[in-house]
Symmetry: C2
Subunit: 386 residues, 2 copies
């Protein structure tokens, strides 16, 4: 409800507040400090209502405004076409893993999955597990590709994708948080096949052509808000194809009217998401966000490319702007890296056990100064231990 | 993470902060002001970590502590036996309406539903709708009772309940938010039949014997927190009976390990719930909360009983301590009541359209002074308009 004017994200102030650290967590992750300051006020009393945002009825005027603005701002940020709905759900991206096939992979159909990492694998597994339903209620999940052969260190080329003849949809995940890889193009899918995408860890980090997708989903807790809300962007005609025998609250169409309030929604998480959309708009939108994120990632990739001390996990053409993964000469050194970085106010750098080493997550809200500090720390650490 | 000492709830200060009003919203509803002050700090920087509660990894040390304390405090408040799990889920009580029968009403079984209001009806409808699944994956829902004949103004007697021969479970709802009725005893169910209960609007408003239930669920947004988390208390042996062919994230057992984090949980909503549990404990626990709520409700019921101007909806023996519903001689007068009350800082009093008139919701966190002010306003309003 509060409005502020600020400089573009790229020129944001050079250090966090003195009682805050640089947060490289893979998610839930860093939020803009401006947004946190607004939240602090609105938790007590939002818009002069005498009631905090946590305490307002989800059917009242304040919630109406929060949801309408969140929808409008989400559309403005993503330039979302009018024939798409923006839905605010719960359960995280993980719940979408079964909701998508329960809606769109009915008995007798096949859905294709491109697996480029841990989360894409989970999406495929959840679709495949529907075969356990008695009575053959659902269709079949087909593995169109997996990069497991090289521990998910790369994004496949066009000729590596093996689609089934007429898939109900193709599912992929744009950014692989654990492995630090990211799609920099759309997968080359058969003409006319609906494309479904898990964008949890890079949504709104760069411009996106929504019109190429039938359904996009994203857990909010990386680039667009706190844990507790799931953003779904869905094309109207695809939404209407969804199964009608599954429970109402599992059908996307039920969330479409009145800004996703068929039941009590996660008001606060949606409210924070709305504040993040406003912050993106004030910061210059997705083009500015992309430039900001490219510049940040370059600071760290430049260090990786200048030495053999650090070993990047992702193949060079598959590198993520959101999560940078690399190993050190030994596990002991990696542990020391994490500890010493934390002591210098660089938090959350420990890599996932499936890759080891270091993972630096650099979502929209991480200031450029955080990446400068990390790059400098990496050079220093190499000088002392290389 | 912050600890505070305060006087019992019954003696809480007589008025809200000058920039806050008395909030009679049916939910999401009022939270303790002490809790909001703690939230304001922790959103910026929790426990000196340099990172706010919205930005911490759900697998990190801060989240570990938040979830462990929330679990422990929830158990302490409710005196929950060791053979029960406390689960923190999403989707609200409405999602439980299909999750319960999908887990516990397998093909060939019947589950009995006692319908005493809008939400109990929705629970029954969601269970009955599972008949639409192809292949007969689920069982049958049986209506054991409905108070629809008198617009849900009463709680049934023992002899009005008509159970099926061997139900898989009996489901009921303790407090009927829209109608202002509440169960003041357990329903007399057949011996050995698991009892499932929606306690969304009166959980932890009074002592509860958890051991009588197989499963209790509650949307957090009335007595125990903000919207966005659902509290589930489930007996171990019952949990293990749950269906294994439904998606993992729909199986209760999947939430049991590691404090409900099979996927990214709604960290903030659980954190606030934990702060509310601490507040209940500081306020003297459920016995004190019950006394506090009885005293508050009496202030308003005494006005209703002293006049014919206001017409209570609930039968006297079925009155709720949480939601008081009554009508005025005309709709115009009711509208004026709501407007004038709001002008005096008494917010959220408009009744639900299915009952009309006024609904005053008086959850744990509503101070006694709010009920005193409402009772006084009611007397004044009658004097001027009676």
């Amino acid at each position: 409800m509060t409005t502020m004017k600020t400089a573009p994200a790229g020129s944001s102030k050079s250090a966090p507040a003195t009682d805050r650290v640089f947060n490289f967590s893979a998610g839930p992750g860093v939020l803009p400090e401006e947004v946190l300051r607004i939240v602090q006020q609105d938790v007590w009393n939002i818009g002069g209502s005498g009631i905090g945002i946590l305490e307002h009825s989800h059917r009242g005027k304040v919630a109406d405004q929060v949801f309408a603005e969140c929808d409008a701002d989400c559309r403005k940020v993503g330039n979302i076409p009018a024939n798409y709905k923006v839905l605010f759900q719960t359960g995280g991206a993980s719940a979408q893993n079964h909701l998508v096939p329960m809606n769109f992979m009915p008995a007798g159909t096949t859905a294709d999955y491109i697996v480029t990492g841990h989360w894409a694998q989970k999406s495929f597994d959840a679709a495949a597990a529907l075969a356990k339903f008695p009575g053959g209620a659902f269709g079949t999940a087909n593995l169109a590709f997996s990069s497991k052969d090289k521990n998910h260190s790369y994004i496949p080329s066009k000729d590596q994708l093996k689609f089934s003849s007429r898939p109900a949809y193709v599912h992929y995940c744009t950014n692989n948080t654990l492995y630090g890889t990211e799609w920099h193009r759309l997968p080359e899918t058969p003409a006319g096949v609906p494309l479904v995408c898990d964008m949890s860890s890079d949504i709104y980090s760069r411009p996106v052509d929504i019109s190429r997708y039938a359904l996009i989903y994203a857990g909010a807790q990386k680039n667009v808000g706190p844990a507790g809300a799931t953003l779904v962007i869905i094309r109207d005609d695809f939404m209407e194809q969804g199964g009608r025998f599954i429970p109402d609250l599992m059908q996307y169409r039920v969330f479409a009217p009145e800004f996703s309030r068929p039941n009590t929604p996660p008001v606060f998480a949606v409210y924070v998401m709305g504040q993040v959309f406003k912050w993106i708009l004030r910061s210059g939108g997705l083009a500015a966000m992309h430039k900001h994120n490219e510049a940040k990632a370059k600071l760290v990739y430049d260090v990786l490319d200048s030495t053999k001390f650090y070993e990047p996990h992702a193949r060079a053409d598959s590198r993520s702007l959101m999560n940078i993964t690399f190993r050190l000469p030994s596990d002991d050194l990696a542990d020391r890296f994490v500890k010493e970085a934390k002591a210098q106010g660089l938090d959350g750098l420990k890599g996932h056990r499936s890759v080891g080493g270091i993972r630096a997550s650099m979502y929209n809200a991480l200031p450029r100064a955080g990446c400068e500090a990390l790059a400098q720390f990496m050079r220093e650490f190499e000088r002392k231990n290389g």
